[in-house]
Symmetry: C2
Subunit: 410 residues, 2 copies
């Protein structure tokens, strides 16, 4: 949580943090500016002190809601520095930071966060480290401070994610209704009112409208994939494919609040009209796994354990898993879940790797999403819910949606 | 243009470039993968050779359209490396890059591009520089190679931006129509059919629907701001404000292709019903400036010259400009324009600073957007068109929209 930042800075022996960005929807900046919509701010927080914001004068109105001490960036006269340094932007930027650090009394071990072009970040931080003797640039590659704080959500954040869950489920409900209202022809294909075949592309266009009507954005797109495509976890679905009865449909949707805020993430697998036996068996096993995992969630347990538990569950039922073969393309071939927040995929991660030391804790919001994939058999299945661990350590399912494979058609 | 990459690598004495990313809509990756929708790819291009892609096996279908030699990332067994390095992700990642570089014969001066957390990028590139003796990490802070290539657009790119212009203008047209169809009450406020006052927030919601109906995204939002808010260039408009006759409305809209592709950017200033004289004068001067600048565009001229020309134009008419006071909050207080492509703001820039050595050239696509801002007088005005410099050096205006301040109301 945001209130953990000072404690985390102390633990990591950081004297200050600097969050900057020139990219829209940059999670670290959004986190520290509470979504105020700033695009060119620099946030500086010294250990034990409140954050301070250096902002573009054109964004002073948006920044006022922060309640931080604000400084207009024009105070540090970057353009004068650029002239002094004959247009060398790197030297001018180093001098600009030096002015800011001196003005705000920033020194010692400083961590830098926020998205940037990686080559530019390397150039700038190397130059700061070399040129400014009062500061030491601290490089955090793994489990950085801002990500660590973001891993646990406060009640205001959970309320926003819960509301995102409500709206996302509404989109899935309306998509089901849209599919159900179509006629079916003799070859078991869905037909539009104009007589044309309904395609996956038509459904995609409708889902995009539903997302907009909920006032949401889907910056990372969504997956609505049928048949063979549903057997490839990242396939978004080939647009020209006709919608057909009796085929697996994986619908995985992960919109975020307008303007780049909190995400939600849910998946249901559907089948129109009727389900072939082999698909129904796949579905039943994935659903049983989902229930098994959720029933066994416990605070203070390593998340890796649940990936192992999922692999064991599927292996016992005769499915291949990533545990035996990390490059497998059929069976259970991904990891069980991930945290959800200002990024679609954030800590805690559930992958079974030695760098993953995450343990389930109050405040976590994460997905549980087992799946089985058989592209060569033309089918796939995934079920995904979002779970919140409340302050009492109880597990709340934020995905209020039934589990039903078959969508009955008239 | 993409075909310039090898020439630019030669000019900069780069032996190879590496483009990676874990962020959606990362322009350098989108550029090198032609928008194939990959999220976890690593693209490596050696000087004089075709690009190669290392991809997540789950994205093999999307990657097939690239026409590049493809390698599945599983070949380099990152997870084994993570185990060997006891879960130290930084050491494992360095070893992973070392395997890839050896396999593909990458050595010498290597540039790195693509968005990443700046602290993580610094940690990784510092470690690569220290650990891998065969490569030297080249830091480009200013005018990096990928940005330089992207500055000039090929015909396929221009066709996409032109189509974006058509759709964006359609959204503005439909927004005008939406405003016009409302009733006006005795206090000159617009009323909805349910009798409630139409607010800026209502218009925002309608514009979002129009964007979705065009199949577009607006990841950076849009500006539809009235009265005082229209006098602050970056204000997006306070949602609760009633829509009122006789007030300036700045409508600046900058959507991109679905899935994170090419942007467009246009602005019109409107006023419902009638325009007060002082606003009409402001509008006439901004419009005259727009025409003056566009009429004077010439290939091989420094873009800075046009910012100077704009300041001179406004100063002669008695307005304050950034040229006298960089921190001014009223008058002409921003720069004239910017390139438009996979990023909303990219090179060529038009700011009048010593680091800006850009000259107008065939293939450029950029905005021309003079404006005047008087928040204390409750008004602002900006007009923005997108200009394409074709291969013959002719200037084509990609913004097909009339210039008319007043929207007549029934």
């Amino acid at each position: 949580m945001r209130e953990d930042l000072s404690r985390l800075m102390a633990e990591r022996n950081l004297d200050a943090i600097v969050v900057s960005d020139k990219v829209h929807g940059n999670p670290p900046l959004t986190y520290l500016t509470k979504g105020a919509g700033l695009t060119q701010a620099l946030i500086i927080q010294k250990r034990g002190a409140a954050p301070q914001a250096i902002i573009n004068p054109m964004e002073r109105e948006e920044a006022a809601v922060l309640g931080y001490p604000l400084t207009l960036s024009s105070r540090y006269k970057y353009h004068d520095l650029l002239r002094e340094h004959d247009g060398d932007a790197l030297r001018a930027t180093v001098a600009y930071y030096a002015r800011i650090f001196e003005d705000l009394g920033v020194q010692g071990r400083v961590g830098f966060y926020g998205l940037a072009d990686q080559g530019q970040a390397y150039a700038l931080l190397t130059a700061l480290e070399e040129s400014l003797s009062e500061i030491h640039v601290v490089a955090e590659f793994q489990d950085d401070l801002i990500s660590a704080a973001r891993t646990t959500k406060d009640t205001a954040e959970v309320a926003r994610i819960r509301e995102m869950g409500r709206r996302t489920a509404e989109i899935v409900r309306q998509t089901e209704a849209f599919l159900r209202e179509h006629a079916v022809d003799d070859e078991e294909r869905l037909r539009r009112t104009d007589g044309e075949i309904l395609t996956v592309g038509d459904v995609h266009a409708h889902i995009r409208r539903l997302v907009a009507l909920q006032g949401l954005e889907d910056p990372e797109g969504f997956i609505f994939a049928t048949g063979r495509d549903s057997g490839i976890p990242h396939s978004k679905g080939a647009l020209e494919t006709p919608m057909h009865l009796g085929e697996s449909i994986v619908f995985d949707i992960f919109p975020c609040e307008a303007g780049g805020g909190y995400f939600f993430d849910m998946t249901r697998t559907f089948c129109l009209g009727y389900a072939p036996d082999k698909l129904q068996r796949l579905y039943d096993d994935v659903f049983a796994c989902t229930r098994h995992i959720i029933a066994n969630l416990k605070v203070d347990t390593p998340t890796r354990r649940y990936q192992q538990m999922t692999c064991a569950f599927f292996r016992e039922r005769g499915y291949a898993t990533v545990e035996e073969d990390a490059s497998a393309l059929s069976g259970y071939i991904h990891s069980l879940g991930h945290g959800v927040g200002l990024e679609l995929h954030e800590t805690p991660m559930f992958r079974d790797t030695p760098d993953n030391t995450a343990q389930i804790a109050p405040g976590h919001v994460f997905t549980v999403e087992p799946g089985l994939y058989y592209p060569d058999k033309g089918m796939g299945c995934r079920i995904e819910d979002v779970i919140y661990v409340d302050p009492d350590g109880n597990f709340q399912n934020l995905t209020d949606y039934p589990y039903q494979l078959v969508i009955p058609m008239a």
